[in-house]
Protein backbone atom coordinates (compact mmCIF):
# COMPACT_ATOMS: atom_id res chain seq x y z
CA UNK A 1 0.00 0.00 0.00
CA UNK A 2 1.09 3.58 -0.73
CA UNK A 3 -0.30 6.55 1.17
CA UNK A 4 -0.73 9.67 -0.96
CA UNK A 5 0.24 12.53 1.38
CA UNK A 6 -0.01 15.07 -1.45
CA UNK A 7 -1.23 14.19 -4.91
CA UNK A 8 0.67 16.84 -6.89
CA UNK A 9 -0.67 19.00 -9.72
CA UNK A 10 -2.31 16.24 -11.76
CA UNK A 11 -1.48 12.61 -11.04
CA UNK A 12 -3.38 9.67 -12.50
CA UNK A 13 -3.09 5.91 -12.81
CA UNK A 14 -2.61 4.77 -16.41
CA UNK A 15 -1.93 1.60 -18.31
CA UNK A 16 -1.75 1.38 -22.11
CA UNK A 17 -5.45 2.06 -22.56
CA UNK A 18 -9.03 0.85 -22.73
CA UNK A 19 -9.74 -0.80 -26.07
CA UNK A 20 -12.93 -1.83 -27.82
CA UNK A 21 -15.40 0.77 -26.49
CA UNK A 22 -14.79 3.69 -28.82
CA UNK A 23 -18.12 3.12 -30.55
CA UNK A 24 -19.77 3.87 -27.18
CA UNK A 25 -17.88 7.17 -27.03
CA UNK A 26 -15.22 5.90 -24.64
CA UNK A 27 -11.70 7.18 -25.38
CA UNK A 28 -8.75 4.77 -25.32
CA UNK A 29 -6.83 6.85 -22.72
CA UNK A 30 -3.58 5.32 -21.40
CA UNK A 31 -0.29 6.92 -20.43
CA UNK A 32 0.46 9.99 -22.54
CA UNK A 33 4.14 9.16 -23.14
CA UNK A 34 4.09 5.40 -23.62
CA UNK A 35 7.76 5.32 -24.57
CA UNK A 36 8.57 6.36 -21.00
CA UNK A 37 5.85 4.42 -19.19
CA UNK A 38 6.86 1.19 -20.92
CA UNK A 39 10.51 1.70 -19.97
CA UNK A 40 9.58 2.26 -16.34
CA UNK A 41 7.71 -1.05 -16.36
CA UNK A 42 10.44 -2.91 -18.23
CA UNK A 43 13.07 -1.74 -15.73
CA UNK A 44 11.17 -3.61 -13.02
CA UNK A 45 10.41 -6.66 -15.15
CA UNK A 46 6.72 -5.68 -15.20
CA UNK A 47 4.42 -6.16 -18.17
CA UNK A 48 4.24 -3.14 -20.51
CA UNK A 49 0.54 -2.77 -19.70
CA UNK A 50 0.94 -2.79 -15.89
CA UNK A 51 -0.56 0.34 -14.33
CA UNK A 52 1.83 3.21 -13.56
CA UNK A 53 1.38 6.63 -11.99
CA UNK A 54 1.49 9.50 -14.47
CA UNK A 55 2.80 12.59 -12.71
CA UNK A 56 2.33 15.97 -14.38
CA UNK A 57 4.63 18.96 -13.78
CA UNK A 58 4.55 18.91 -9.95
CA UNK A 59 5.13 15.64 -8.16
CA UNK A 60 3.21 14.02 -5.32
CA UNK A 61 4.48 13.12 -1.85
CA UNK A 62 4.09 9.41 -1.27
CA UNK A 63 4.68 7.21 1.78
CA UNK A 64 5.34 3.53 1.12
CA UNK A 65 3.67 1.29 3.68
CA UNK A 66 5.47 -1.81 2.41
CA UNK A 67 8.81 -2.82 0.92
CA UNK A 68 8.97 -2.70 -2.88
CA UNK A 69 11.08 -1.64 -5.83
CA UNK A 70 10.31 1.38 -8.00
CA UNK A 71 11.53 3.15 -11.11
CA UNK A 72 10.86 6.67 -12.35
CA UNK A 73 11.12 7.61 -16.03
CA UNK A 74 10.01 10.40 -18.35
CA UNK A 75 10.24 14.02 -17.22
CA UNK A 76 12.84 14.91 -14.60
CA UNK A 77 10.92 16.40 -11.67
CA UNK A 78 13.90 15.95 -9.30
CA UNK A 79 12.70 12.89 -7.38
CA UNK A 80 14.01 12.18 -3.86
CA UNK A 81 13.68 9.21 -1.56
CA UNK A 82 13.69 10.34 2.09
CA UNK A 83 14.94 13.72 0.82
CA UNK A 84 17.98 12.21 -0.94
CA UNK A 85 17.93 12.97 -4.68
CA UNK A 86 17.69 9.82 -6.83
CA UNK A 87 18.32 9.06 -10.48
CA UNK A 88 15.77 8.46 -13.18
CA UNK A 89 15.67 5.33 -15.33
CA UNK A 90 17.08 2.91 -12.75
CA UNK A 91 15.57 0.62 -10.12
CA UNK A 92 15.37 1.85 -6.50
CA UNK A 93 14.80 -0.30 -3.44
CA UNK A 94 12.08 1.03 -1.18
CA UNK A 95 11.75 0.10 2.48
CA UNK A 96 8.58 0.23 4.50
CA UNK A 97 8.09 3.81 5.69
CA UNK A 98 10.16 5.47 2.91
CA UNK A 99 8.97 8.74 1.41
CA UNK A 100 9.08 9.67 -2.26
CA UNK A 101 8.85 13.34 -3.14
CA UNK A 102 9.65 15.56 -6.09
CA UNK A 103 11.18 18.97 -6.64
CA UNK A 104 12.04 21.24 -9.53
CA UNK A 105 10.97 20.38 -13.07
CA UNK A 106 14.17 20.06 -15.12
CA UNK A 107 12.95 18.71 -18.46
CA UNK A 108 9.80 17.19 -19.94
CA UNK A 109 6.42 17.54 -18.20
CA UNK A 110 5.19 13.98 -17.45
CA UNK A 111 7.00 11.56 -15.20
CA UNK A 112 6.13 7.87 -14.75
CA UNK A 113 6.37 5.98 -11.48
CA UNK A 114 6.29 2.21 -11.67
CA UNK A 115 6.18 -0.15 -8.72
CA UNK A 116 7.13 -3.80 -8.83
CA UNK A 117 4.13 -5.69 -10.26
CA UNK A 118 2.20 -2.48 -10.95
CA UNK A 119 -0.50 -0.48 -9.18
CA UNK A 120 -3.55 -2.57 -8.30
CA UNK A 121 -6.30 0.01 -8.63
CA UNK A 122 -9.63 -1.30 -9.91
CA UNK A 123 -9.85 -2.32 -13.54
CA UNK A 124 -12.93 -0.95 -15.32
CA UNK A 125 -13.85 -2.12 -18.84
CA UNK A 126 -10.50 -3.81 -19.29
CA UNK A 127 -8.26 -0.98 -18.12
CA UNK A 128 -7.06 0.81 -15.00
CA UNK A 129 -6.60 4.12 -16.86
CA UNK A 130 -8.47 6.85 -15.00
CA UNK A 131 -11.19 8.71 -16.89
CA UNK A 132 -14.26 10.71 -15.71
CA UNK A 133 -17.43 8.62 -15.29
CA UNK A 134 -15.57 5.40 -16.13
CA UNK A 135 -13.27 4.91 -13.15
CA UNK A 136 -14.40 5.95 -9.66
CA UNK A 137 -12.17 9.00 -9.72
CA UNK A 138 -10.36 10.65 -12.61
CA UNK A 139 -7.25 11.66 -10.70
CA UNK A 140 -5.39 10.65 -7.57
CA UNK A 141 -6.51 12.58 -4.47
CA UNK A 142 -4.71 13.69 -1.31
CA UNK A 143 -5.00 11.12 1.47
CA UNK A 144 -5.79 8.24 -0.85
CA UNK A 145 -4.28 4.78 -0.36
CA UNK A 146 -3.07 2.94 -3.47
CA UNK A 147 -2.75 -0.84 -3.45
CA UNK A 148 0.38 -2.30 -5.00
CA UNK A 149 1.50 -5.84 -5.71
CA UNK A 150 3.62 -7.65 -3.11
CA UNK A 151 7.32 -7.59 -4.02
CA UNK A 152 8.46 -10.37 -6.29
CA UNK A 153 11.75 -11.51 -7.80
CA UNK A 154 12.83 -9.07 -10.51
CA UNK A 155 14.11 -9.94 -13.95
CA UNK A 156 15.69 -6.81 -15.30
CA UNK A 157 15.61 -6.52 -19.06
CA UNK A 158 19.24 -5.79 -20.03
CA UNK A 159 18.53 -4.27 -23.46
CA UNK A 160 16.83 -1.21 -22.03
CA UNK A 161 20.07 0.11 -20.55
CA UNK A 162 21.07 0.97 -24.15
CA UNK A 163 18.37 3.61 -24.69
CA UNK A 164 19.29 7.27 -25.24
CA UNK A 165 16.61 8.74 -22.99
CA UNK A 166 17.41 12.39 -23.61
CA UNK A 167 16.93 12.15 -27.37
CA UNK A 168 13.23 11.62 -26.68
CA UNK A 169 13.02 15.08 -25.08
CA UNK A 170 15.42 17.12 -27.21
CA UNK A 171 13.76 16.89 -30.60
CA UNK A 172 11.13 19.39 -31.72
CA UNK A 173 10.27 17.32 -34.81
CA UNK A 174 6.79 15.83 -34.77
CA UNK A 175 6.41 13.15 -37.42
CA UNK A 176 3.08 13.07 -39.22
CA UNK A 177 1.15 11.44 -42.03
CA UNK A 178 -1.26 13.38 -44.20
CA UNK A 179 -4.76 13.36 -42.69
CA UNK A 180 -7.93 12.48 -44.63
CA UNK A 181 -8.66 16.16 -45.47
CA UNK A 182 -5.03 17.22 -46.06
CA UNK A 183 -5.51 17.52 -49.81
CA UNK A 184 -8.23 20.13 -49.31
CA UNK A 185 -5.65 22.60 -47.94
CA UNK A 186 -4.36 25.26 -50.35
CA UNK A 187 -0.80 24.93 -51.70
CA UNK A 188 0.28 27.77 -49.44
CA UNK A 189 -1.27 26.09 -46.38
CA UNK A 190 0.40 22.81 -47.28
CA UNK A 191 3.74 24.60 -47.53
CA UNK A 192 3.26 26.51 -44.27
CA UNK A 193 2.18 23.53 -42.22
CA UNK A 194 5.56 21.85 -42.82
CA UNK A 195 7.77 24.93 -42.87
CA UNK A 196 6.51 27.04 -39.99
CA UNK A 197 7.29 26.47 -36.34
CA UNK A 198 4.27 26.06 -34.09
CA UNK A 199 4.04 26.66 -30.36
CA UNK A 200 1.91 24.87 -27.78
CA UNK A 201 -0.77 27.06 -26.19
CA UNK A 202 -1.78 27.00 -22.53
CA UNK A 203 -4.78 24.97 -23.64
CA UNK A 204 -3.05 21.61 -23.41
CA UNK A 205 -4.09 18.57 -21.41
CA UNK A 206 -4.66 14.81 -21.71
CA UNK A 207 -7.47 15.41 -24.21
CA UNK A 208 -5.82 17.73 -26.68
CA UNK A 209 -3.06 20.26 -27.33
CA UNK A 210 -4.10 23.48 -29.05
CA UNK A 211 -1.38 25.36 -30.97
CA UNK A 212 -1.06 29.16 -30.85
CA UNK A 213 -0.58 29.99 -34.53
CA UNK A 214 -3.57 30.80 -36.74
CA UNK A 215 -4.21 29.64 -40.29
CA UNK A 216 -6.66 31.27 -42.62
CA UNK A 217 -9.19 28.47 -42.76
CA UNK A 218 -11.56 28.17 -45.69
CA UNK A 219 -12.26 24.47 -45.23
CA UNK A 220 -15.85 23.50 -44.59
CA UNK A 221 -16.64 21.52 -41.46
CA UNK A 222 -17.16 17.83 -42.19
CA UNK A 223 -20.05 15.66 -41.04
CA UNK A 224 -19.05 14.28 -37.61
CA UNK A 225 -16.41 11.73 -38.49
CA UNK A 226 -13.81 9.53 -36.86
CA UNK A 227 -10.64 10.73 -35.20
CA UNK A 228 -7.81 9.02 -33.35
CA UNK A 229 -5.12 9.77 -30.80
CA UNK A 230 -2.74 12.07 -32.67
CA UNK A 231 -5.23 13.45 -35.20
CA UNK A 232 -4.55 17.12 -36.02
CA UNK A 233 -7.76 19.07 -36.64
CA UNK A 234 -8.09 22.53 -38.18
CA UNK A 235 -10.78 24.44 -36.29
CA UNK A 236 -13.07 27.14 -37.76
CA UNK A 237 -10.98 29.80 -35.96
CA UNK A 238 -7.91 28.60 -37.90
CA UNK A 239 -6.16 26.99 -34.92
CA UNK A 240 -4.68 23.51 -35.01
CA UNK A 241 -5.74 21.04 -32.31
CA UNK A 242 -3.79 17.83 -31.76
CA UNK A 243 -5.87 15.12 -30.12
CA UNK A 244 -4.10 13.28 -27.31
CA UNK A 245 -4.80 10.10 -25.28
CA UNK A 246 -8.17 11.10 -23.72
CA UNK A 247 -9.48 12.33 -27.08
CA UNK A 248 -13.09 12.40 -28.14
CA UNK A 249 -13.81 9.50 -30.47
CA UNK A 250 -15.33 11.60 -33.24
CA UNK A 251 -15.26 15.17 -34.46
CA UNK A 252 -16.45 17.52 -37.16
CA UNK A 253 -13.31 19.50 -37.96
CA UNK A 254 -11.15 18.71 -41.01
CA UNK A 255 -8.41 16.23 -40.12
CA UNK A 256 -5.31 17.64 -41.79
CA UNK A 257 -2.49 15.58 -40.22
CA UNK A 258 -2.01 12.41 -38.19
CA UNK A 259 0.86 11.93 -35.73
CA UNK A 260 2.56 8.59 -35.49
CA UNK A 261 2.76 6.82 -32.13
CA UNK A 262 6.27 7.98 -31.36
CA UNK A 263 5.31 11.61 -32.13
CA UNK A 264 2.40 11.41 -29.65
CA UNK A 265 4.86 10.20 -26.99
CA UNK A 266 7.31 13.02 -27.74
CA UNK A 267 4.60 15.68 -27.83
CA UNK A 268 3.33 14.46 -24.45
CA UNK A 269 6.56 15.75 -22.92
CA UNK A 270 6.14 19.28 -24.37
CA UNK A 271 4.46 22.10 -22.53
CA UNK A 272 3.21 25.64 -23.00
CA UNK A 273 5.31 27.75 -25.43
CA UNK A 274 7.46 24.80 -26.53
CA UNK A 275 8.13 24.92 -30.24
CA UNK A 276 7.35 22.05 -32.58
CA UNK A 277 7.75 21.42 -36.30
CA UNK A 278 5.73 18.93 -38.32
CA UNK A 279 7.73 16.55 -40.50
CA UNK A 280 6.00 14.48 -43.14
CA UNK A 281 6.55 10.73 -43.16
CA UNK A 282 6.79 9.39 -46.69
CA UNK A 283 4.83 6.27 -46.09
CA UNK A 284 3.87 3.95 -48.86
CA UNK A 285 3.51 0.47 -47.63
Amino acid sequence: MIEVLKSGFYSTIQDLGRFGFENYGVPISGSMDQFSSIISNKLLGNKDNDAVMEITMTGPVLKFLETTKISITGADISPSINNNPVKLNIVHNINKGDFLSFGKLKYGIRSYLSVSGGFLTKEVMGSKSMYPNITKSFRIADGEYLKIKALNKININPEITQIDYLKHFKTNKIKVFKGPEFDELSDKQKHNIFNKNFTISNDNNRMAFQLNETFINQLKPIITSLVMQGTVQLTPSGKLIILMRDNQTCGGYPRVLQLNESAINKLSQKHMNNEIKFELINALK
Binding site: F19, G20, F21, E22, N23, Y24, G25, V26, V124, M125, P132, N133, I134, T135, F177, G179, P180, I222, I223, T224, S225, L226, M228, G230, T231, Q248, T249, C250, Q258, L259, N260, E261, A283, L284, K285
Partner: protein, 243 residues
Protein backbone atom coordinates in the same frame (compact mmCIF):
# COMPACT_ATOMS: atom_id res chain seq x y z
CA UNK B 1 -30.18 -1.73 -50.47
CA UNK B 2 -27.57 -0.95 -53.07
CA UNK B 3 -23.80 -0.91 -52.80
CA UNK B 4 -22.03 2.45 -52.71
CA UNK B 5 -18.91 3.83 -54.33
CA UNK B 6 -16.48 3.76 -51.40
CA UNK B 7 -13.17 5.54 -50.82
CA UNK B 8 -10.41 3.71 -48.95
CA UNK B 9 -7.78 5.90 -47.29
CA UNK B 10 -4.74 5.02 -45.26
CA UNK B 11 -5.07 6.88 -41.92
CA UNK B 12 -2.04 7.06 -39.64
CA UNK B 13 0.24 4.10 -39.03
CA UNK B 14 -2.21 1.24 -38.69
CA UNK B 15 -5.68 2.33 -39.73
CA UNK B 16 -7.80 2.36 -42.85
CA UNK B 17 -10.64 4.85 -43.24
CA UNK B 18 -13.53 3.89 -45.50
CA UNK B 19 -15.71 6.75 -46.69
CA UNK B 20 -19.25 6.81 -48.05
CA UNK B 21 -20.80 9.81 -49.87
CA UNK B 22 -20.81 12.89 -47.66
CA UNK B 23 -24.51 13.14 -46.83
CA UNK B 24 -26.57 12.19 -43.78
CA UNK B 25 -28.74 9.33 -44.91
CA UNK B 26 -30.25 6.30 -43.16
CA UNK B 27 -29.36 4.00 -46.05
CA UNK B 28 -25.72 5.01 -45.83
CA UNK B 29 -25.72 4.38 -42.08
CA UNK B 30 -27.27 0.92 -42.55
CA UNK B 31 -24.76 0.14 -45.30
CA UNK B 32 -21.87 1.09 -43.01
CA UNK B 33 -23.22 -1.03 -40.16
CA UNK B 34 -23.73 -4.01 -42.44
CA UNK B 35 -20.15 -3.73 -43.71
CA UNK B 36 -18.90 -3.38 -40.13
CA UNK B 37 -20.72 -6.56 -39.11
CA UNK B 38 -19.28 -8.50 -42.06
CA UNK B 39 -15.73 -7.32 -41.29
CA UNK B 40 -16.18 -8.36 -37.67
CA UNK B 41 -17.29 -11.80 -38.87
CA UNK B 42 -14.56 -12.29 -41.45
CA UNK B 43 -11.53 -10.61 -39.91
CA UNK B 44 -11.34 -12.40 -36.62
CA UNK B 45 -7.81 -11.28 -35.74
CA UNK B 46 -7.51 -10.13 -32.16
CA UNK B 47 -6.84 -6.46 -31.56
CA UNK B 48 -8.58 -5.27 -34.72
CA UNK B 49 -10.90 -2.43 -33.73
CA UNK B 50 -13.72 -0.87 -35.72
CA UNK B 51 -15.67 2.31 -35.21
CA UNK B 52 -18.30 3.95 -37.34
CA UNK B 53 -19.83 7.38 -37.83
CA UNK B 54 -22.34 9.04 -40.22
CA UNK B 55 -20.44 8.21 -43.39
CA UNK B 56 -17.28 6.46 -42.46
CA UNK B 57 -15.82 3.36 -40.93
CA UNK B 58 -12.38 3.18 -39.31
CA UNK B 59 -10.47 -0.06 -38.95
CA UNK B 60 -7.40 -0.11 -36.75
CA UNK B 61 -5.06 -3.08 -37.03
CA UNK B 62 -2.25 -4.01 -34.64
CA UNK B 63 0.08 -3.49 -37.62
CA UNK B 64 -0.31 -2.92 -41.35
CA UNK B 65 2.51 -4.33 -43.47
CA UNK B 66 0.86 -3.79 -46.82
CA UNK B 67 -1.98 -1.31 -47.09
CA UNK B 68 -2.91 -2.44 -50.59
CA UNK B 69 -3.48 -6.02 -49.45
CA UNK B 70 -5.65 -4.90 -46.56
CA UNK B 71 -7.75 -2.70 -48.89
CA UNK B 72 -8.18 -5.58 -51.35
CA UNK B 73 -9.30 -7.85 -48.52
CA UNK B 74 -11.85 -5.25 -47.38
CA UNK B 75 -13.13 -4.62 -50.91
CA UNK B 76 -13.69 -8.34 -51.36
CA UNK B 77 -15.73 -8.50 -48.14
CA UNK B 78 -17.84 -5.54 -49.33
CA UNK B 79 -18.48 -7.13 -52.72
CA UNK B 80 -19.70 -10.33 -51.12
CA UNK B 81 -22.29 -8.63 -48.89
CA UNK B 82 -25.86 -9.70 -49.44
CA UNK B 83 -27.59 -6.33 -49.44
CA UNK B 84 -31.05 -7.85 -49.56
CA UNK B 85 -30.62 -9.24 -46.06
CA UNK B 86 -32.85 -7.52 -43.50
CA UNK B 87 -31.05 -5.71 -40.72
CA UNK B 88 -32.47 -5.79 -37.23
CA UNK B 89 -32.35 -2.83 -34.86
CA UNK B 90 -33.80 -2.13 -31.43
CA UNK B 91 -36.31 0.65 -30.90
CA UNK B 92 -36.12 2.19 -27.43
CA UNK B 93 -38.63 4.34 -25.59
CA UNK B 94 -36.82 6.86 -23.42
CA UNK B 95 -38.87 8.68 -20.77
CA UNK B 96 -38.35 12.45 -20.66
CA UNK B 97 -39.83 14.97 -18.26
CA UNK B 98 -40.34 18.29 -20.05
CA UNK B 99 -41.22 20.16 -16.84
CA UNK B 100 -39.90 23.74 -16.74
CA UNK B 101 -37.75 22.84 -13.72
CA UNK B 102 -35.70 20.69 -16.13
CA UNK B 103 -36.33 22.42 -19.45
CA UNK B 104 -34.39 25.55 -18.57
CA UNK B 105 -34.40 26.80 -22.17
CA UNK B 106 -38.00 25.91 -23.11
CA UNK B 107 -39.27 29.43 -22.52
CA UNK B 108 -36.42 30.90 -24.54
CA UNK B 109 -37.12 28.50 -27.43
CA UNK B 110 -40.82 29.33 -27.24
CA UNK B 111 -40.00 32.96 -28.04
CA UNK B 112 -37.12 32.32 -30.41
CA UNK B 113 -39.01 29.76 -32.51
CA UNK B 114 -42.46 31.38 -32.06
CA UNK B 115 -43.92 27.99 -31.16
CA UNK B 116 -45.58 27.33 -27.83
CA UNK B 117 -44.12 24.93 -25.29
CA UNK B 118 -46.76 22.27 -25.76
CA UNK B 119 -46.12 22.21 -29.49
CA UNK B 120 -42.32 22.00 -29.00
CA UNK B 121 -42.76 19.08 -26.60
CA UNK B 122 -45.21 17.34 -28.89
CA UNK B 123 -42.98 17.77 -31.96
CA UNK B 124 -40.00 16.51 -30.00
CA UNK B 125 -41.69 13.48 -28.46
CA UNK B 126 -43.74 12.45 -31.49
CA UNK B 127 -40.75 11.59 -33.66
CA UNK B 128 -38.62 8.51 -34.03
CA UNK B 129 -34.91 9.24 -34.10
CA UNK B 130 -32.09 7.23 -35.60
CA UNK B 131 -28.87 6.76 -33.63
CA UNK B 132 -26.13 7.66 -36.13
CA UNK B 133 -23.22 7.63 -33.77
CA UNK B 134 -22.18 7.52 -30.11
CA UNK B 135 -19.38 9.85 -29.12
CA UNK B 136 -18.32 13.25 -27.79
CA UNK B 137 -18.91 11.84 -24.29
CA UNK B 138 -19.25 8.17 -23.29
CA UNK B 139 -22.87 7.28 -24.10
CA UNK B 140 -23.73 10.52 -25.95
CA UNK B 141 -26.10 9.63 -28.80
CA UNK B 142 -26.02 11.53 -32.08
CA UNK B 143 -29.69 11.42 -33.07
CA UNK B 144 -30.96 12.28 -36.52
CA UNK B 145 -34.54 13.14 -37.45
CA UNK B 146 -35.37 16.29 -35.46
CA UNK B 147 -38.46 18.07 -36.81
CA UNK B 148 -37.43 21.09 -38.91
CA UNK B 149 -39.78 23.38 -36.95
CA UNK B 150 -37.85 22.98 -33.70
CA UNK B 151 -34.28 23.12 -35.01
CA UNK B 152 -32.32 25.91 -33.36
CA UNK B 153 -28.66 27.00 -33.43
CA UNK B 154 -26.52 26.22 -30.40
CA UNK B 155 -25.88 28.80 -27.68
CA UNK B 156 -23.11 31.27 -28.47
CA UNK B 157 -21.69 30.77 -24.98
CA UNK B 158 -21.83 27.16 -23.84
CA UNK B 159 -22.91 26.54 -20.27
CA UNK B 160 -20.35 25.08 -17.92
CA UNK B 161 -22.56 22.56 -16.11
CA UNK B 162 -25.37 20.87 -17.96
CA UNK B 163 -27.00 18.39 -15.53
CA UNK B 164 -26.88 14.66 -16.19
CA UNK B 165 -29.86 13.44 -18.22
CA UNK B 166 -30.54 16.82 -19.84
CA UNK B 167 -32.31 16.60 -23.18
CA UNK B 168 -31.26 19.30 -25.60
CA UNK B 169 -31.56 20.70 -29.10
CA UNK B 170 -28.39 21.68 -30.99
CA UNK B 171 -28.84 22.69 -34.62
CA UNK B 172 -30.56 19.83 -36.43
CA UNK B 173 -29.70 17.36 -33.68
CA UNK B 174 -31.23 16.35 -30.40
CA UNK B 175 -29.65 14.31 -27.63
CA UNK B 176 -29.26 13.49 -23.96
CA UNK B 177 -26.24 14.44 -21.82
CA UNK B 178 -25.27 11.07 -20.28
CA UNK B 179 -23.39 12.80 -17.46
CA UNK B 180 -22.91 16.33 -16.20
CA UNK B 181 -20.80 18.21 -18.72
CA UNK B 182 -20.25 21.56 -20.40
CA UNK B 183 -22.43 22.06 -23.46
CA UNK B 184 -24.03 24.51 -25.83
CA UNK B 185 -27.39 22.92 -26.57
CA UNK B 186 -30.75 24.35 -25.50
CA UNK B 187 -32.19 22.20 -22.73
CA UNK B 188 -35.87 21.25 -22.94
CA UNK B 189 -36.17 18.37 -20.48
CA UNK B 190 -34.50 15.61 -18.51
CA UNK B 191 -34.48 11.82 -18.64
CA UNK B 192 -34.18 9.82 -15.40
CA UNK B 193 -32.45 6.88 -17.11
CA UNK B 194 -28.75 6.01 -17.21
CA UNK B 195 -27.42 6.12 -20.75
CA UNK B 196 -23.96 5.04 -19.73
CA UNK B 197 -22.89 2.72 -16.94
CA UNK B 198 -19.30 1.49 -16.91
CA UNK B 199 -20.34 -1.43 -14.66
CA UNK B 200 -22.70 -2.85 -17.29
CA UNK B 201 -21.64 -4.84 -20.32
CA UNK B 202 -22.05 -3.29 -22.81
CA UNK B 203 -21.80 0.06 -20.98
CA UNK B 204 -24.46 1.64 -23.19
CA UNK B 205 -27.62 -0.29 -24.12
CA UNK B 206 -28.08 1.61 -27.38
CA UNK B 207 -25.90 0.95 -30.43
CA UNK B 208 -25.57 2.90 -33.68
CA UNK B 209 -28.45 2.08 -36.03
CA UNK B 210 -30.99 1.73 -33.21
CA UNK B 211 -34.07 3.93 -33.04
CA UNK B 212 -35.10 6.06 -30.10
CA UNK B 213 -38.31 7.86 -29.23
CA UNK B 214 -39.03 10.13 -26.27
CA UNK B 215 -42.04 9.53 -24.04
CA UNK B 216 -43.29 12.59 -22.17
CA UNK B 217 -43.63 11.89 -18.43
CA UNK B 218 -44.82 13.92 -15.45
CA UNK B 219 -42.63 15.01 -12.52
CA UNK B 220 -44.19 12.25 -10.40
CA UNK B 221 -43.41 9.58 -12.98
CA UNK B 222 -39.89 11.02 -13.25
CA UNK B 223 -39.28 10.55 -9.52
CA UNK B 224 -40.65 7.00 -9.65
CA UNK B 225 -38.52 5.98 -12.64
CA UNK B 226 -35.46 7.58 -11.04
CA UNK B 227 -35.91 5.30 -8.01
CA UNK B 228 -36.46 2.28 -10.27
CA UNK B 229 -33.29 3.11 -12.22
CA UNK B 230 -31.26 3.52 -9.03
CA UNK B 231 -32.46 0.19 -7.66
CA UNK B 232 -31.93 -1.42 -11.08
CA UNK B 233 -35.63 -2.31 -11.41
CA UNK B 234 -36.42 -0.13 -14.40
CA UNK B 235 -37.37 -2.04 -17.55
CA UNK B 236 -37.20 -0.31 -20.91
CA UNK B 237 -39.95 -0.47 -23.47
CA UNK B 238 -38.11 -2.02 -26.37
CA UNK B 239 -39.27 -3.37 -29.70
CA UNK B 240 -37.39 -4.86 -32.60
CA UNK B 241 -37.55 -3.19 -35.99
CA UNK B 242 -36.37 -4.01 -39.50
CA UNK B 243 -36.60 -0.40 -40.51
Amino acid sequence: MKSFELKYKSFGENSILIEWPSIIDENILKNILLFKLEIEKKISTRNVYLKSSYNSLLITYPIINNTQNKVLELKKIYQEINFIKKQVFNKWEIPVCYDLSFGSDLEYLEKSLSINKKEIISLHSKKEYRVYNIGFLPGFLYLGGLDKKIRHPRKKNPKFNIPKGSVGIGGSQTGIYPNESPGGWHIIGNSPINLFDSKQSPPCFVTPGDKVSFISISLKEYELIKIQVESKLYVFNKTVTND
